[in-house]
């Protein structure tokens, strides 16, 4: 190999720069911490199980949206047979009333910007 020393040196510099975010966070101890969610509600259980809601709430909301607007359904029967009104603004947010400490924390952490709130009204939060 010609100029092995220079090439290897360059490769090492490249590796260091490309992995900068990882080792910088490890060294400085400022690694992003998973968001902590706060929820003020008397209910013990969301309409479906917590792991399901955590991973599928967006799909469920899309299903609700289409079912309500396009098919005129209003009642959701969950897997336990309990009935709920399908409404983001009136059903979901009645429990998840502290949006900034619940919805927003994860959404900000993951840099997702759901445009629900362009139209749907956020609950008033007690500060």
């Amino acid at each position: 190999m010609y100029n092995a020393g220079k090439i290897l040196f360059g490769l090492i510099i490249f590796f260091c720069i490309s992995t900068f975010p990882f080792w910088y966070n490890a060294v400085s101890g400022k690694a992003a911490v998973a968001p902590e969610l706060k929820l003020i509600t008397k209910e013990k259980q969301c309409i479906e199980s917590t792991p399901y809601m955590r991973s599928n709430h967006m799909e469920l909301l899309v299903l609700w949206r289409d079912s309500v607007v396009r098919e005129g359904n209003r009642v959701y029967v969950n897997s336990a047979g309990k009935q709920y009104t399908m409404s983001l603004q009136n059903t979901c947010m009645s429990c998840h009333s502290n949006k900034s400490e619940f919805c927003d924390r994860c959404h900000t952490y993951l840099a997702v910007e759901p445009d629900c709130w362009n139209c749907h009204i956020e609950p008033k939060e007690k500060t």
Binding site: L63, V69, G72, S79, A80, Q83, Q89, I121
Partner: protein, 257 residues
């Protein structure tokens, strides 16, 4: 060959058992399956329609129906006619029924504001032109619905509607809503909106807000396919006209004059 027959019968038996088990397993599975249903409270009609009785006076320029509708549905008031968003509004008789007015029209009609709203046409031109199917006709009750989630704000529907029943939000409507109804969403910038015959209220067993608010009973709402409904009674006993019938959109808001 004896063993061959035995084996065949054994396999056939097990297969039959397997086929028999499948529906049972399916039924057990379906038990825990979530589903979406209609509300049992919902008002059910096959063809919703409205009758506006123009013989009845609106005392002192009453706008209760308009106020009620715009309050319930978070309709913004931009305060200028260029940006105006409206679901139900007043028009002079001649504007509502072009060609029907004349110089010697009876005073009660000429001076009277005519209440107009989306006609929920049986042959809606707005639906035909919508490129995203954001507006569509509900086949089960005839309501011309708006799905604001799908609207891209192209305004084809506004061009197609001969009644001016559709308004675009040129600006963010939120700051222009006097009092938010927190149970109903607002719209956003770049979305077209219009009257939906209060489908969200019908689904909860309530009649449209404008009809409920009208103390003089100028507005009557009901199911055309029900021969005993109030609208059918009125239509059967009075001469009624519709807005611009020559266009063939088959409006479902009828006017008694």
């Amino acid at each position: 060959m004896d063993s061959g027959r035995r084996r065949f019968l054994k396999i056939a038996g097990i297969s039959a058992l397997g086929l028999g088990i499948k529906p049972v397993v399916d039924a057990l599975e379906a038990n825990g399956q979530p589903e979406e249903l209609r509300s049992p409270k919902a008002l059910v009609g096959q063809r919703w329609a409205m009758v506006v009785d123009l013989r009845k006076a609106c005392p002192d320029n009453c706008t209760e129906c308009i106020d009620a509708c715009h309050r319930v549905h978070n309709v913004p008031d931009f305060g200028n006619p260029k940006d105006e968003v409206k679901w139900i509004w007043n028009q002079p008789f001649g504007d509502a029924f072009p060609g029907q007015e004349h110089e010697y029209l009876e005073e009660s009609l000429r001076d009277r504001p005519t209440i107009v709203l989306c006609n929920h046409c049986d042959n809606p031109p707005c639906v035909r032109v919508c490129p995203t199917k954001a507006t569509y006709k509900r086949e089960d009750d005839g309501i011309v619905m708006m799905d604001y989630h799908r609207c891209i704000g192209c305004r084809f529907c506004m061009a197609a509607c001969p009644f001016g029943a559709r308004s675009l939000n040129w600006r963010d409507p939120r700051p222009f809503i006097k009092e938010l109804n927190r149970e109903f969403p607002t719209r956003t910038k770049g979305v077209v909106e219009k009257c939906t015959f209060c489908e969200e209220r019908l689904a909860n067993g309530l009649i449209p807000a404008c009809v409920e608010a009208c103390k003089e009973k100028v507005l009557v709402f009901g199911d055309l396919k029900d021969p005993r409904s109030e609208v059918r009674e009125l239509l059967g006993s009075h001469y009624t006209i519709r807005r611009r019938p020559e266009l063939g959109t088959l409006p479902q808001v009828y006017y008694i004059v």
